[in-house]
């Protein structure tokens, strides 16, 4: 039972749970459009800064839970989370080196990739939602990234 990443894993689960709950708090309409995908940001952060404590299965399980939580097609967010998480795991050493604005930009691209996957799955599964406002959620997420990143870095020690 000598697991050096146990604390990190615990942090990862608690933060993901909080992010999941926050994602369902009702917001006024305009803020709601900018609502960041907080859970995905948490998954990205742990994949980036502590890749050994969380894996793709972590992304998958939380994605599946988000699917059930928000009542959409099961597996939809799970797929998006795994795809984004794969890129972050693959490039985490490079991404860590980026200066913060650069890193935020990469996160924005990843969030848009995720939104595109969601858009695509919605279309294929017969619930099309052709709204450009989807892209705003990515912008909201990118705006949150420096804050979240700063907060988490001060709370969790890197591995």
């Amino acid at each position: 039972m000598n697991d050096p990443y146990a604390t990190h894993r615990l942090h990862a689960y608690i933060s993901a749970l909080i992010a999941l709950l926050l994602s369902a708090i009702p917001l006024p309409h305009v803020l709601g459009l900018l609502r960041p995908d907080l859970l995905l940001l948490v998954v990205i952060w742990f994949a980036l800064m502590s890749p050994r404590s969380t894996g793709l299965l972590y992304a998958f399980s939380w994605g599946l839970l988000l699917d059930a939580f928000s009542g959409v097609l099961l597996g939809q967010h799970a797929l998006g989370f795994v795809a984004v998480s794969f890129f972050v795991h693959h490039f985490h050493l490079r991404m860590r080196m980026f200066p913060l604005p650069h890193q935020t930009f990469v996160v924005l691209i990843l969030l848009w990739l995720y939104q595109f996957l969601m858009f695509w799955i919605d279309g294929v599964s017969g619930h099309p939602l052709n709204e450009w406002s989807r892209l705003l959620a990515g912008v909201g997420g990118a705006l949150c990234w420096p804050l979240l990143s700063g907060l988490f870095s001060s709370l969790v020690r890197r591995h």
Partner: protein, 300 residues
């Protein structure tokens, strides 16, 4: 999670390969779940077990709002309460009068229908429910209510509020139910214009204050201010419940169809008290036998 812990050979060349394989496997798994879930009840077991996990989480999100409501109701002043009681009493008196008149009309109607040998009107049972303060997906018009399969809620059951049709139930959990609102872009409801009985379909637009009537020809008799009520076709909604009021009619000579917009009567983005309706589209027996779907309530 177990398989992911052995990261000893992190920088060996095989690492990236195995990461990619794991990603492919999980993506394939997600795709499989999606395909199953898009069939009717294909991933039933998985969905039900996840619903067990998720239900308490919804309650946690709701808890602060429930607490706020409880505090604000216990802090209401005596004067405000007295005013409320006076208003409600007046309203109640008025309603009682209307109800008496309606009762007489209903009896008369029944007599006449018996004379005409027409089928009796559908029996209706209702149950009030509370809309939970949980934002499921801000891009879609869906809400959770606090009644579930223990209350014998079934799928595709009408939900109304004090002003008109609110939506219909989709996913039933043990103690909560997902309701798709009238205004969801994937929702459509058969309606008729009260003034002339013209039947059509009102589709949601994704905007809680707007419905569209996309299937009316250019020469259709529709005006601003027309009231739309359910037509009873399709069997989901009982007939003659208010749905919306027409707010805009645009006739473009180059288009074969008229563009009509309507505002839903139900307070879709405000109301927290709604009513679930059970009814049988064609009741052959007497209205006294109006306990619908007693057997289905047991299965979650």
């Amino acid at each position: 999670m177990v398989a992911l812990r052995d990261r000893g050979a992190r920088f060996a060349p095989t690492r990236v390969g195995s990461l990619a394989w794991r990603a492919i496997a999980l993506i394939a798994l997600s795709l499989g779940i999606m395909v199953l879930d898009s069939r009717h009840d294909g991933a039933g077991l998985l969905r039900r077990s996840l619903a067990q996990v998720v239900a308490p989480l919804h309650r946690i999100v709701e808890a602060p709002f429930a607490l706020r409501d409880a505090i604000s109701s216990s802090l209401t002043t005596r004067d405000a309460l007295r005013l409320q009681v006076t208003t409600l009493e007046a309203q109640n008196r008025e309603n009682a009068l209307t109800l008496q008149r309606l009762h007489a009309i209903e009896l008369e109607n029944e007599r006449l229908q018996r004379l005409l040998d027409a089928s009796p009107r559908e029996a209706i049972r209702t149950l009030t429910a509370r809309v939970l303060q949980v934002d499921l997906d801000s891009a879609r018009q869906r809400v959770l209510i606090d009644r579930g399969s223990v209350d014998q809620v079934t799928s595709a059951q009408p939900v109304i509020d004090a002003y008109g049709v609110y939506g219909q139930t989709t996913r039933i959990n043990a103690s909560t139910t997902e309701v798709i609102l009238l205004s969801d872009a994937n929702h459509a409801i058969p309606v008729q214009i009260e003034r002339n009985g013209l039947r059509t379909i009102a589709a949601g637009t994704g905007d809680p204050n707007r419905l569209a009537l996309p299937y009316l020809p250019r020469n259709a008799d529709v005006q601003v201010g027309d009231k739309l009520v359910t037509s009873g076709l399709g069997g989901t909604f009982p007939a003659d419940i208010p749905v919306a009021t027409v707010t805009e009619v645009r006739r473009d000579p180059s288009q074969p169809l008229v563009q009509v917009r309507a505002a839903p009567n139900a307070k879709l983005d405000r109301d927290r008290e709604v009513m679930l309706v059970w009814y049988k589209p064609q009741v052959i027996s007497t209205p006294a036998e109006a306990t619908p779907h007693p057997a289905k309530g047991k299965s979650p």
